[in-house]
Amino acid sequence: MLNQLSVTVNGTPVVVPSGATVAVAVVLAGQVCRTSVSGEPRGPLCGMGICFECRVVVDGNPHVRSCQVLCRPGMEVNTEK
């Protein structure tokens, strides 16, 4: 479909609405974005690029704020361990 596209999150394909942010892809994949320094699961908080809780690895680039980046077809997203 034209208004959807597919990315992978931790290797698993996820279909997202076109124009969706990477943060949305991570949530739709049922994953959390990162694990905190003491081991807690964390997801997006501010949704606007301030809190850095939603950072993930996008196409090999670490520490990308997933709420500030739009999904592109075939994008490889990995959550931060």
Partner: protein, 421 residues
């Protein structure tokens, strides 16, 4: 956008750089599907007017580009996913907006506990919310706007929890009568919110769940209630983003950027508009943006013509300030083990031993993670009355490669002119 369009309409060369993936800031950022963009156009004539003015004015726009440093006067260094670029300006208008104030309570670090504006931004970014139960909580008029937005997109809102008292809310509603446009908005909002329970004097005590949120405990009229939910959208009004203005040397008074009548900061050639100068909402921000854009383009007379309008809009920000004050009970929400600094996982008990932000930073790493204290700074300001230290470059975390090129000649092909030339 208002500043860029107004300046460009004066015939000067303007570039607009936005950290967000789309134009329009947090309020007007266009939604992910084309159907929703049409809806925005239809329902917000102001937004579509400014989007049209922007595209007609010939402004060069770059989204997803984040300014991290000013290596020398008139030059900003910015990063995106692919690399970095140098932005050269003669005049600069800063419109860095505001973020939500977050306060720590047990469970606030669980996934699916987000800011009120945070969850709204996620839904605007494509998060399906239909059929989800969302508790909207915290403080400020944003809660109502968020609840209305989420409901329109199919969310179920069991309750809006506003920590302010009915008394201050009544005073706020009465004061609204001085702004006819706000009354119309309020009536519209009330229609959108019909049937959603609203409770004043009510706040979230704790968010519960193992790996993700499943319910919240709220304190309503002195009684604790447990409410199951999928999301908690919780924010306590707004904090201006003054980090970049501070880095550029602009004076900041009580958390706000100091500007003169023409929105000029204390740094020559640097203007500031919107929430960083006072939290007054979108109307005030647009007027300030217009003034800043016109003044930066050297059209002082046209800028002056907007002063009266701005004066009226600014009074609204004073009304907001007096209606929405944080109640002291919220200081007792964190337990000893509740994380206050989410980046470095510093619990409340470790911070209690310190008497200043500096001391806490040095001993616990509080505020030294990637958000650079943007979340825990305002929280500790409320909890402990700590004042943040000076801002240091880079103003956002930057790649080492970006910093390494600071002294090197940059690839000018990638550079953009920002501001007014």
């Amino acid at each position: 956008m208002a500043a860029a369009a107004c300046a460009a309409e004066c015939g000067v060369r303007v570039g607009l750089v936005d950290d967000n993936p789309r134009l329009g800031g947090q309020i007007w950022r266009s939604e992910s599907s084309s159907q929703q963009e049409q809806e925005t156009d239809q329902q917000n004539p102001d937004a579509s007017k400014w989007f049209q003015r922007m595209s007609a004015s010939g402004v060069t726009t770059r989204c997803g580009l984040r300014v991290v440093h000013q290596p020398e006067s008139g030059v900003l260094l910015a990063e995106n996913l692919n690399g970095l670029c140098e932005l050269m300006y003669e005049k600069l208008v800063l419109a860095t907006g505001a973020r939500e104030r977050f306060l720590p309570f047990p469970g606030w670090t669980l996934p699916n506990v987000m800011g009120a504006g945070g969850l709204q931004a996620m839904v605007k970014g494509g998060l399906p919310i239909r059929g989800k139960r969302v508790i909207v909580a915290g403080m400020g008029p944003l809660l109502l706007a968020v609840a209305a937005y989420l409901r329109k997109h199919g969310a179920e809102i069991p309750l809006i929890c506003e920590q302010a008292s009915w008394g201050s809310l009544a005073a706020f509603s009465l004061a609204l009568f001085r702004w006819p446009a706000k009354i119309i908005q309020a009536i519209q909002l009330q229609r959108d919110l019909a049937g959603i329970p609203f409770a004043a004097n009510t706040w979230v005590l704790a968010a519960n769940g193992q790996r993700t949120l499943d319910s919240v405990d709220i304190l309503r009229a002195g009684r604790v209630e447990n409410v199951p939910c999928d999301y908690l959208a919780c924010g306590f009004h707004l904090v201006p983003n003054v980090e970049l203005p501070s880095l550029l040397g602009c004076a900041v008074d009580h958390g706000f950027v100091r500007v003169d009548d023409f929105q000029n900061t204390t740094v020559a050639s640097v203007f500031c508009a919107g929430e960083p100068t006072s939290v007054g909402g979108v109307e005030l921000a647009i007027i300030e943006g217009q003034i800043a854009g016109l003044a930066a383009a050297g059209h002082a007379t046209e800028a002056k013509a907007l002063f009266a309008k701005r004066r009226k809009a600014r009074r609204f920000s004073h009304v907001l300030d007096s209606a929405f004050r944080l109640r002291p009970e919220l200081k007792n929400l964190p337990l000893p083990e509740t994380m206050v600094c989410r980046c470095e996982d510093v619990p409340y008990s470790r911070l209690q031993q310190h008497t200043s932000w500096r001391s806490a930073k040095l001993h616990t790493r509080c505020g030294m993670g990637p958000c650079q204290g943007r979340v825990c700074g305002p929280a500790t300001e409320f909890l402990f009355k700590w004042n943040p230290d000076s801002v240091r470059p880079p103003v956002f975390p930057a790649r080492v490669g970006t910093l390494a090129t600071l002294s090197e000649q940059l690839d000018l092909q990638h550079s953009e002119v920002m501001g007014v030339k």
